[in-house]
């Protein structure tokens, strides 16, 4: 069976999942699980925990599918938000300063993508990457670290050896600029 990847195909799948169709959930799983697993792994850096959370994520998707509103969010954003939130909750359970020591066998392009990738990046992804790269390097790093690792301000501040309030204002200013840039 072909894996549904277009936004419309994914939306249609969500409708069937909301109606209790397990084969639709399987198709959604086939289309999205490798991306969501990458999200969970990146935040948790622990395969067993990430698998555990990933399982919870799909059970949550099954239970909440009736609340998905295609007019307000894309399926990919909706499911990856659930994956990030569940992973971050799990990370927070380790303590406020917890962050994962990144495992080495994960192939994750953490740095800004190369020129080729920038050219290839289309639509929203390309615009976001462009806008992120317009931020000063430090702010960009902090925002990327926060997003990919799901760590608290406190943890970032400690790692960067910068005062908490300073880190907070970098991020807030950076997010405001990001919004302005995306609106252009």
């Amino acid at each position: 069976m072909a894996v549904a990847t277009t936004p419309d195909a994914l939306s249609a799948l969500m409708g069937r999942v909301a109606g209790g169709d397990r084969s639709a959930l399987r198709q959604l799983y086939d289309a999205t699980s490798a991306k969501l697993f990458a999200v969970c792994l990146r935040i948790l850096s622990d395969r067993e925990e990430a698998q555990d959370v990933l399982q919870e994520v799909y059970v949550t998707i099954w239970r909440r599918a009736d609340r998905f509103d295609a007019g307000r969010a894309s399926v990919m954003t909706w499911v990856s938000t659930i994956a990030r939130n569940r992973s971050i909750d799990r990370l927070r359970a380790r303590g406020p300063m917890a962050y994962a020591d990144q495992v080495e066998d994960l192939e994750i392009a953490d740095e800004a993508p190369g020129a080729e990738a920038m050219l290839e990046a289309k639509g929203e992804q390309g615009r976001l990457q462009n806008c992120l790269s317009e931020l000063d390097a430090r702010t960009e790093t902090v925002i990327r670290t926060a997003f990919f690792e799901g760590v608290t301000y406190e943890a970032i501040a400690r790692r960067m050896e910068a005062p908490l309030g300073t880190v907070k204002s970098w991020v807030r200013r950076g997010l405001a600029r990001l919004k302005g840039c995306l609106q252009r």
Binding site: L25, Q51, T60, F147, T152, R172, K179
Partner: protein
């Protein structure tokens, strides 16, 4: 890049929540706010949508097959339909005498204070929420609810306009896995209220339980533990 205008306090918080930098206590508060403040919820959603493309940079990693097997094992039945059918059964014959049109009505009903909560070691609870959507016509959210298992309180927001039907009230019910409704109290139209939950209902407020709102005569359902009026909205509790 030119200096961008500062984000409002609400939007900055929404962006921080979407980014994931908040502590667990701050996350809980933000989730509660999402559940009761649709404008804030929309800000969080918009920020999630803005930031989401970053995840495209992560190289996909195929999970082992054991994960899907575990998902299948823990799937509950999708019981929305079953809940509606069950409620139709529970509704008494008096339902016919009440108008269903009244998703809107008004009566400031005082929600009496509940017996004091006994202090127990709080479970490492996670918030549950539910969006209760209309049962006729287009599914429109009429009520949103969030249950905080640590404080044992249900926070309910009525999105229904006040002052339109003084002859009826909205009564909230929880229907757990056994299918039997338990009355939780009267909901005031257009307001947000925190309803402390008595211990005997705490176990019912679990993931997968349904919340339902029935239209009842002032004072609530005349029958004990059974809604008599039409069910105007239903939703399921799920972990946030």
């Amino acid at each position: 890049m030119s200096e961008a205008p500062e984000l409002s306090e609400a939007e900055a918080l929404a962006a921080e929540h979407a980014l994931g930098v908040l502590t667990s206590a701050e996350r809980r508060d933000a989730e509660l706010r999402v559940a009761r403040d649709p404008e804030f919820a929309a800000l969080v959603e918009a920020w999630a949508e803005r930031l989401a493309p970053m995840a495209d940079q992560l190289a996909p990693v195929a999970p082992p097959p054991s994960v899907w097997a575990a998902v299948l094992r823990s799937l509950p039945a999708n019981d929305n339909l079953a809940v509606r059918r069950g409620l139709r059964f529970w509704r008494g014959a008096t339902a016919a005498s009440l108008t269903l049109a009244a998703a809107s009505f008004a009566l400031a009903v005082f929600v009496g204070s509940r017996p004091p909560l006994t202090v127990q070691p709080p479970p490492p609870g996670q918030l549950l929420d539910a969006s209760l959507v209309s049962q006729s016509g287009q599914p429109v959210p009429l009520f949103v609810a969030a249950y905080d298992p640590v404080r044992k309180a249900l926070i309910v927001t009525s999105l229904v306009t006040a002052n339109t039907d003084p002859a009826h009230v909205h009564e909230l019910w929880v229907i757990p896995a056994d299918g039997k409704p338990r009355p939780l109290g009267i909901i005031q139209p257009g307001k947000t209220q925190a309803m402390p939950m008595p211990d005997r209902y705490v176990a019912s407020l679990a993931e997968g339980s349904a919340l339902a709102v029935s239209v009842e005569p002032p004072g609530g359902s005349p029958k004990v533990d059974v809604p008599t009026g039409p069910i105007t909205a239903v939703g399921k509790l799920a972990k946030i």
